[in-house]
Symmetry: C2
Subunit: 368 residues, 2 copies
Amino acid sequence: MPDLRKDPIVGRWVIVAKSRAKRPHDFERATHQRSATFCPFCEGNEDKTPHEIVAYRDSGNHANGRGWRVRVVPNKFPALEIEGDLEKRGDGIYDAMRGVGAHEVIIESPQHVVSTSELSEKQLREVYWIYRDRLLDLKRDPRLVYGMIFKNVGAAAGASLEHSHSQLIVTPIVPISVSEEMSGSREFFDYRGRCVYCDMIQQELASESRVVMDTPSFIAICPYASRCPFETWILPKRHTSHYENIQEYEIEQLARMMKQVVGRIEMALDRPSYNYILHTAPFSTGELEHYHWHIEIMPRLTNVAGFEWGTGFYINPVPPEEAADFLRKIGLESARSAKKPTSSGDERKKGTKKSRKSPAIMPSAKES
Amino acid sequence: MPDLRKDPIVGRWVIVAKSRAKRPHDFERATHQRSATFCPFCEGNEDKTPHEIVAYRDSGNHANGRGWRVRVVPNKFPALEIEGDLEKRGDGIYDAMRGVGAHEVIIESPQHVVSTSELSEKQLREVYWIYRDRLLDLKRDPRLVYGMIFKNVGAAAGASLEHSHSQLIVTPIVPISVSEEMSGSREFFDYRGRCVYCDMIQQELASESRVVMDTPSFIAICPYASRCPFETWILPKRHTSHYENIQEYEIEQLARMMKQVVGRIEMALDRPSYNYILHTAPFSTGELEHYHWHIEIMPRLTNVAGFEWGTGFYINPVPPEEAADFLRKIGLESARSAKKPTSSGDERKKGTKKSRKSPAIMPSAKES
């Protein structure tokens, strides 16, 4: 019998329907592969992007030249543009404003790598610092109210360039998904006097079944009402509503955890396309007791999420407990293989082979 | 400069960013093609599906044999199951219940056709009657509160079988997208005393720019805050909240309009994958003054809707005015070619060829 589960924040119900995982085509994966075409994000091609906004560079190097480690440029095809006034207007029952905002690209490495798992922890730390820098800079603009940072990896996740990069869209309105999180977590807080995310962290740590990783300052879980197989959230244990408040020790742990967790998802699902989204509070609010910044990672498996996209009504064929169990074990396997350097090649190969044999259907295979 | 537009019902903002349409890869289409594999939905293979729930048959034919015109069967891999109690329960901060409900498949033709545009108007009328029959039957079950009817065409829209069919998922909870529509339209009604959909129909008829088709009882529009290129809504002009209240003359016009509109979208975008969803009020409510049933059609173009899926934050590169204009003209062209039977072959060919040459980017081409 399938299960119906409710997301405690926004109230979205999800059907967790295990039996559907047996359909052989459910996990056709859109593997992200490296291609050999020209890349405007690689070091040496700085003149192929718009002028850089900021970059972390080794000393002695000049803007828009070589020698950078992380580089932020305006999106060449921006969804929103930074100049001008909002000109809010009505048109009968409709409301509109000009598309004022920012659309930036964070190029995460001078080398042509694709995924978070291929960056070093040092590189990831700089990426997470530069997220903070950009949010702090853009929130000074009174026209802008929200900064959404996300990363698309692989064509099925909407990536048009494969070179590892994140995007930042800064809007003059609060996106609806954010408003829903804000009001849902506010309602929970008004009723119980606690942050729903803090409660979730406590409950997940106590029950353990959905925990993928646990470090002193962060937890990675497959959420109770996961919308898709292997959806994974990374939550800081310290309550704060705005990502910009992140501390140095947290950046260190976040880098380590993101690299690990994305690596495990890639091993489990054979390098699927994926998105991650940084969920943080709007610029305009001070620190909020009811909201808690976090990162949501969504692997993009084809043939899942058909009409869900338009309806908010999700059917997930893999229970999060089984996804988390799988991701934990993959972690153990790779840790074990790392400890035995003599056989590590073999172990790794074995691990990969196993993961290629549709691990996602493993949970159901156990059943039959 | 891009435009930010607000959906007047749920308050979702959409970025209408014309300049992005110039990116050549934006309209890689996932064309739906006919394949030659075995099909369990074709006439003669009735024993390959679960036992039929209901069918419209020519007299003298038996259930689960040949001789049907439209046939409803349980989904072989149901997301929800009809037996048992809900057993609502809490688990700390989480809420769950058993996945009780119905998941049915409406097989729309005994012949192996794929899309709504390939069905005759007579067939479509029977499909829309049988939607009504199933909703009326299932709403008698006190455990169930909502019936969602939708159709996936093409792999990119989540279709796993290509034979033309719709699905009906009946749930013991109201899906979040429906709750949002209900509360948004309710708010509008409380403030202005009118139905937001009725207002929308009036305004669209007056301005004309987003109207695709207009018949005495229905209107087809590309909505003001379209989430994706060529999103199209079909609204009945007569206010009623529940699809089950549809009248015979409306079924006739709906069949004609759906066939036409889907046909035009397919000509414009070279047979894209698409979803449509029937939006109707929950079983449990009586007739509602603030809600208005309708159908939303979403063409599924790849590389559009990357992270939008998870965030409710949409970037649409084609303004709905230009999509509607394009769909209207395609209608005129095919009408013209139908009137000149001697040259119709040529005209049709021309029309098709033109549409293959990425018509979706036409609006931007005009600009430059």
